[in-house]
């Protein structure tokens, strides 16, 4: 699984980085910088939680 952001929808709420800090950081304006790599299975639950929590539904989970 990978995680991607739709940058048009993203409003820099920053919840994703709080919920999934192993994979998502924030730039100086609060927008996510996401690791572009396959998420290990043990972290997939965190990825799902981050995607579900996004207020603008900007995060996409992609199957590898």
């Amino acid at each position: 699984m990978r995680i991607r952001v739709n940058p048009i929808k993203c409003d820099a709420h920053g919840l994703c980085a709080e919920l999934f800090p192993e994979w998502i950081g924030l730039d100086e304006w609060g927008y996510p910088i996401i690791k572009d790599a396959a998420i290990p299975p043990e972290l997939e639950a965190h990825a799902r939680r981050a995607a579900d929590a996004c207020p603008t539904l900007a995060l996409l989970l992609l199957k590898d």
């Binding site: 739709n6 940058p7 048009i8 929808k9 993203c10 409003d11 820099a12 730039d27 304006w29 609060g30 927008y31 910088i33 572009d36």
Partner: protein
């Protein structure tokens, strides 16, 4: 690169320009012969020829034309073709030249592309500010209608005058009545584009090549260039050369040969911009070995892109030129994606301060950070292009940037701008 055989001659696309008047259907047919009828050249055979030719898109991204066509063919629904003539790259003139001087070559290619994907309708998009393009295209379409040349219906579309106007999804947004702003992918235009139908968007130069591949075959196309990068391509040459303008070159041509064909350098060169405003600055010292192929350029972190080549004269200031373009690109953001809105403004502001001799604290480190962290984080490639343009400028002209940061504007900063910024 190995020496190319001398059997194929240039120009191909531009052969009609030299004796003028190929905007007329009759002259076009004299020059190139008729379009092969569907009975002689089926969609499948044509697609196989495009694939065998190895034709790549000439809009900048260089995507294989056959792959895109296949994707549209295999998508559900009646396909539609968009001939994209909105180069919107201020230094590029090749697409406007094709539409103005050789509209029939482009329309032939668009009709053939429609044959491949089973479309009945072609939209030809041009930059709305170019009135002469509209006149030439409308005239060409009327002539074809009178002669019964096509089974497809052509429609003209005047696109907005913005840097992002020709970006594929931005153009599709306009065709749907929306603003000239990109959209997020997926969905891919090949699956859902104009009127939610599978849409083949091809640059007009790509279509012009298709018109000739259909007539002469893939072997003819591949007689120029290398195995990896076959064929010819259009470049727009600007800057310190005797005769700037649009040239058709064999892929892999040495820059020196192109400069020579264009009347030679008019003076000392400070640096080279290859690929336009989404392209790369390269040091003048590379001019002697520079090959106009993506293979050679890739090894130097560059690409042909839209085919713009600028020889920056030593009388120009690379810092001033870079800052002007960076500010322009930052103002052309569609203002949709946070990293682009904030990042492009930060890049432009920081460069501007540096050029004036008032650099922000940690300016160089910040520029390095942004140019590496912004790419890939917008819906379109504006942050990527701008970042690369700035990063290669800093790498190519380090001393000039440091001198400006320390001492402010140089005596060349006031020279007339070379890199064009639309009003």
């Amino acid at each position: 690169m190995s020496a190319a055989p001398e059997i194929a001659v240039l120009p191909r696309l531009l052969s009609g320009v030299s004796h003028r008047g190929t905007a007329q259907l009759e002259r076009h047919l004299d020059e190139h012969g008729p379009l092969p009828a569907p009975a002689e050249l089926s969609a499948k055979t044509l697609l196989a020829a495009v694939e065998a030719a190895g034709l790549r898109g000439r809009g900048g991204a260089g995507f294989p034309a056959a792959l895109k066509m296949r994707a549209v063919r295999s998508a559900r629904g009646q396909a539609i073709v968009v001939a994209n003539g909105c180069e919107s790259e201020p230094m590029s003139a090749k697409d406007a030249l094709l539409l103005r001087e050789l509209p029939h070559l482009v329309l032939d290619g668009a009709a053939l592309a429609a044959r491949v994907v089973g479309a009945e309708q072609v939209i030809v998009a041009y930059e709305g500010q170019n009135a002469d393009t509209q006149v030439s295209l409308a005239h060409a379409i009327r002539q074809r209608r009178a002669a019964g040349t096509d089974t497809v219906a052509f429609e003209l579309f005047a696109a907005a005058e913005k840097f992002l106007t020709g970006q594929e999804t931005s153009l599709l947004s306009q065709l749907g009545g929306g603003p000239p702003v990109p959209s997020f992918i997926p969905p891919r235009p090949t699956e859902r584009g104009v009127r939610r139908r599978p849409t083949l968007v091809q640059n007009v130069e790509t279509l012009a090549h298709l018109a000739l591949i259909a007539r002469h075959g893939s072997g003819w196309y591949r007689a120029l260039g290398s195995d990896d990068e076959p064929g010819s391509t259009l470049v727009t040459l600007a800057g310190a050369v005797g005769s700037p303008g649009v040239y058709e070159i064999e892929l892999g041509t040495r820059l020196e040969a192109l400069l020579e064909a264009a009347g030679g350098p008019t003076g000392q060169i400070a640096g080279l911009l290859v690929g336009g405003y989404f392209g790369s600055w390269l040091p003048a010292a590379l001019a002697g070995e520079l090959e106009l192929s993506n293979g050679w350029l890739r090894a130097h972190d560059a690409a042909l892109g839209c085919g713009v080549v600028v020889a920056l004269p030593a009388s120009a200031c690379p810092v001033a030129e870079t800052v002007r373009v960076a500010v322009y690109l930052a103002t052309e953001t569609a203002r949709q994606c946070g990293p682009c809105v904030h990042g492009s403004a930060a890049l432009a502001r920081t460069l501007h301060g540096m050029a004036l001799g008032r650099p922000e604290a940690g300016a160089f480190a910040a520029l390095r950070r942004w140019t590496t962290s912004l790419p890939g984080r917008g819906a379109c490639h504006l942050p990527d292009g701008l970042s690369h343009f700035v990063a290669t400028a800093l790498a190519t002209f380090p001393r000039q940037f440091e001198d400006h940061a320390r001492g402010g504007p140089c005596e060349r900063c006031g020279a007339a701008p070379l890199l064009e910024i639309p009003a």
